[in-house]
Every structure is written in structure tokens, then in C-alpha cells.
Symmetry: C2
Subunit: 314 residues, 2 copies
DNA sequence: GGCTGATCTGCTCATATGAGCAATGATACC
DNA sequence: GGTATCATTGCTCATATGAGCAGATCAGCC
């Protein structure tokens, strides 16, 4: 298009989008036929000069969702808009809300729902509406009795989700990681614990988040791992954790010995499950989100626009 | 509107604006009639959830221009969009371009055009196209032979504008400010200089910019004033300068003695002129822009979106 | 429970717009 | 210079959309 036409298309766009004039009226002003005006507007759009944003906490980015589905083989992708977000926590909240919406609209409604725990899942539980589902058995899929603080975050997340669905919660009364393998094995041998783990393995759907591998990890906060241990994991290629287990960019367990001492379902069980919903957002989680999606650890991803774009521009 | 309708309006907007579905198709998807969809979209717009931006260096903000005209009594306002600008200088460049466009489209074409000098006016001169007007006599309206560097910026601006209009330039061969009043009076007594000043006073139109009152002022750069002098002026209420003369927020000369030693047309001559075009942009110039507009020193303002909004939110 | 005013819904109809097409004008190539 | 090719223009026609209106529905009130 000629330089002059480009300028005209901008003048036309101003009158059309900002002044709500009809193409006919614009034609009179710019001394053009209305068809020319229509074509100028179309070219302004095609050239990307017209940017339309939906500014709302619940806004999603459907085109990005579609491209994500197509390029990754996910059965579903939920991408929340980051237009107008001012803080990281606002983005987290939007993503959690979207995850809650997605769970609420799930059909068929899963009878048993396996969940992990953490800041994100807790947020999701808060955003669910009372009566979001007519009875769901919520099962904790990884250990999570916090060692030093806020004991019961994990439990309360599960209980809240179950309670709001008028269902029941099955908790996994165990730390996330044991210091000694023998203790962990003894724990798992317990009938009650074994029963919970069996239930977790047979859940119809899973919802989980993921943590980045750095000093801010929830597993460091909770006292399961030291900063030095995290640094070692990172040095060995860890990009983050899923259900308490650290993986590298190829989705492989970074430290098999540590993995053995970790309580909960295995990564491979997630990989084989027919419906696994990963809720991952925030700039620090691009790497782990990539690892989760590229290695088939989830079938549905709920994330934010920037993380989704990072996945697309690989 | 109900909370649920608000959410529906966002879903509808996603399908309409991002997926280019018709309201009919959206109705099928959301199980609504197409009229309901139309109303939801209208309410999404009315609630400000739909933001449409024209992202282009030449884009203007017509609604802001209109509000500016209405609230200030300016005969014309040109407001360039700041959507997508990454640097201050890009904003300056956009504004200069808009000023050049405005000059080019001026009707009737002024026979004599009085101009000030400075970074902004120089930019304007560069953005004008060869042949932008069929012969214009460009007159310098304030002194501006730089004392220490880039001698001739002022002159070259005038010459460029005149040359590109296939016209002539009349330069004011004088410093901006004299140290002694007597020297200035002697200078003005000179027949040539007096003639230029008379021509300047009778110009049909003026184009000028304004400087902020701080250490970055062009008058400091050029060596006419020291930082200490500027600080003194600021302490006495100066918000910036117009044609080399410092004014306060009420448009009054801050230092009459300094003003007497300054060469060029008086502020009052600008105030009385029928067509005075002020080109002022950038975050540091909000105060001086306000002083210029509120006190009737210009009839036309060319500025950027943020400055315009600052003027509107008084 | 029944009335009243206000809001909401589904519709008709006029208008705005985009798709497609023939005629025209420009451009490149022999 | 003539012609083939392509882009551009002005148009017709089908479709999408918004304004306006009558009937339905709802909330508040006695």
C-alpha cells in the first residue's frame, strides 16, 4: 500500500473507531468513496494498526488458546489476558479464577478429583463458588503437611474445594518429602495411607500447579528443602517441580533418590491420566510450564497470556 | 447489569473481537438470542471493557482534541497518540510531524510566518515536505544566535522551513538575551534589526514552542542563562519560557528586567495575534503547556496525549 | 395476592458493511 | 508501441447490525 494510503487509513480509523462515524460519512470528510474507506479500514486492521483489547479480569485470549492447542496437542488451553494487570498477584488471581471457572464447567463432572497444594491451588479453591459441583471426592495427590508454618494449607485447600462442591475430602496425612527412605516406605505401608494413595492414583481428573526451581519455591518455604539443595537441583538441570518432584526441561526426574523419598503419585501417573489440569502462571514459571506442556504432563493448561506466548515462541 | 451478564459480555466480546464471529454465531455458542448478544456487546463497550487503540506514529486522538477545544476555547487542537511510544524523543518526533502536517494543511496559507527556534521547531522543519506551501516568508520572532555551540540552529530552522516552501527567510541576527539593556536598545535601533522586528510583529501566523524552566532549558544549553538564574526564576514562579521570555502559571512575565533585555516579539503580541500555533510535548512540559493554553498565548495547540490529558484534568 | 412502575426480551425494519465482480487503470515485458 | 498481467476502482447484492417498539417479566409495595 502506498504511503499516502497508509496515512489515510489512519485518518479513517480515527473517525471510525474514535468518532463513531459511518464509512459513508468518513468518505465525505476524506473525499473518498465509502468503498475506499472500507478498504482503508480493512488494511489498517490487516497491518495491525488497530489494537483491540478486552480489559477485564475475566478476559481470555481465545486466539492464543487455539494456537496453543494446535502447536502442543493439549486438549484444552485457557489463557487469561494480562491487559491491565499491575501486579504479579493480580495475574495469579486471574489465572486461579479461570481455573475455577474451568473446573466448574467440566463435563462430565469427575467423581474423584486429585489435587496438589500450594499458593495457586489455594487461590483456585477460594475462587470456586459454593455448589460449583454436586458432590466431588477431592483427594490430595502429594504429601504436604507443612513442617514449620501454616500447617494445614494443603489440607484446607482440599477441604475447601470439597466443601464447596458439597463433597468429601480425602487427605494425605504425610510430609511432602521424608529424610529417610525407610520412613517413607513405612508410611506408605500403613493401610490408611496406602488407601489414600490408591485413591489418588485412580482419580478421574487431576488439578495441580507447579513450582519454579529457585529459592522462592514453596518446598523451600515449607522447610522441606534448603536453598543449597535447590541450587544443586538447578545445577543438575531442574526447571521446577510438579507434585513435589523436580524435573528438567525434558520432563525427567532430576534426582531419583530425592524422588524416592517424596510422597504422592508419580510423574508417570500424571502423564498417563486422561484429564490433568495444570494451573501455572507468572513470569518465573515459564520454564517449568514449558517442561510440563512439552512432555505431556498435562492435557489442559490454565495460564496467562505472557506464559502462553513464551510457549508459542519456542 | 448483573454480574453474570457482565461475564457473558466478556465472553461475547472475546468471540466477537478476537474470533470474528457474528452476533448470530455467538448467540448459538452462548445460548442467547442475537439481540441479547448485541446488547451484551454494547454494554461491554459502555462499561469500558473494550479498548480500541490506533497504534501508528501518525495517529491522533480526536475525542481528546474535541474536549480540549471545548474546555479551553482553542480554535484548534492537535493531539498525537502516545500508544506504543517507547521514548520521549519518539513522542517529540510524532508531535513535530503532526505540527508539520498542520502547517501543510493550513488555509489560507499565511504569507508571513513568524517562528521561534529550538529543538522542537527544528524537528518540525525536518518533517515538512519539500513544497509544503507555495512561497512563505518565514520570519524569526526571537533572537537566537547561540553563544557557544551549534551557531545557526535558529537560522537553519527558519531557512529550512522557508526553503521547503519555496519561500524566503528573514533572520533576526541577534542574541536571545543581552547582558546590558543599552546594548539591546542599540541593537534594536539598527534599521535592519528594526525592520525584521516590525516584520515579525506583523506576521500572519506564528509557530513557536516553549521550554520548561529547569536546568535542561535550551536557554541554559545555549549559554544565555546560568543554572543559578533558572533556579531563581523558578523560585519566583516561572514555569517555562515562550519566545525566550519566562512566565509564571498566570502567563505573567516573571522577571521584567530580564524580559527587557530579551530580543524578539513580546508575549502580548502573541496573545493578540489571530493565529498562533504552539507545539509543546513531553512530560516535562505539562506546566508550561498549561500556562500557555490557560492564558491565551496560543490559538492552536499541537501536543501529545499525556500533556493533553493533564490539561483536561485540571 | 394483586397492582404498578421499571426493566428486559424478542421482534420489525432501516441502515451499515463486507464479499464478489466487471470495468478501468497501471505496469512490465516483448 | 502493443499487449499481457496485475492491481485498483466503483458497483450490486447478501448479510450483519443497531434503533425503536410492543409485549413479557420482575421487584417493590400495599
Amino acid at each position: 500500500m502506498s504511503d499516502n494510503d497508509e496515512l489515510l487509513s489512519i485518518r479513517a480509523a480515527e473517525l471510525y473507531y474514535e468518532e463513531n462515524q459511518t464509512q459513508d460519512e468518513i468518505g465525505v470528510i476524506l473525499r473518498l468513496t465509502r468503498w475506499k474507506v472500507g478498504r482503508l479500514l480493512a488494511s489498517a486492521k490487516a497491518n495491525g494498526f488497530i489494537r483491540i483489547e478486552i480489559v477485564h479480569p475475566r478476559a481470555r485470549r481465545l486466539p492464543i488458546e487455539r494456537r496453543l492447542r494446535e502447536s502442543t496437542g493439549l486438549t484444552d488451553a485457557i489463557v487469561v489476558s494480562s491487559a491491565g494487570v499491575s501486579s504479579d498477584s493480580e495475574l495469579q488471581s486471574r489465572t486461579a479464577q479461570a481455573a475455577a471457572d474451568y473446573l466448574t464447567s467440566l463435563r462430565p463432572i469427575p467423581r474423584t478429583l486429585g489435587i496438589s497444594w500450594g499458593r495457586t491451588l489455594h487461590d483456585v479453591s477460594l475462587h470456586l463458588k459454593q455448589g460449583w459441583a454436586p458432590g466431588v471426592n477431592v483427594v490430595q495427590i502429594n504429601g504436604g503437611v507443612s513442617l514449620n508454618q501454616r500447617t494445614g494449607t494443603a489440607a484446607s485447600t482440599a477441604v475447601t474445594i470439597a466443601h464447596k462442591a458439597d463433597g468429601s475430602a480425602t487427605l494425605l496425612p504425610s510430609p511432602a518429602i521424608f529424610e529417610r527412605l525407610e520412613t517413607k516406605q513405612a508410611m506408605e505401608a500403613d493401610r490408611t495411607v496406602a488407601g489414600v494413595l490408591a485413591l489418588a492414583r485412580n482419580a478421574q481428573a487431576y488439578v495441580f500447579s507447579a513450582g519454579q526451581a529457585d529459592a522462592n519455591s514453596a518446598l523451600v518455604d515449607s522447610g522441606y528443602l534448603s536453598v543449597a539443595q535447590i541450587n544443586d537441583l538447578v545445577a543438575r538441570g531442574a526447571v521446577g517441580d510438579v507434585v513435589g518432584r523436580y524435573i528438567d526441561q525434558n520432563g525427567r526426574i532430576v534426582d531419583p533418590e530425592l524422588n524416592e523419598r517424596t510422597v504422592g503419585i508419580q510423574i508417570d501417573q500424571l502423564r498417563r491420566a486422561p484429564l490433568t489440569i495444570a494451573v501455572i502462571s507468572g513470569p518465573s514459571k515459564h520454564a517449568i510450564a514449558r517442561a510440563v506442556v512439552r512432555n505431556g504432563l498435562c492435557t489442559v493448561l490454565v495460564t496467562d497470556e505472557d506464559t502462553a506466548n513464551a510457549l508459542l515462541h519456542d
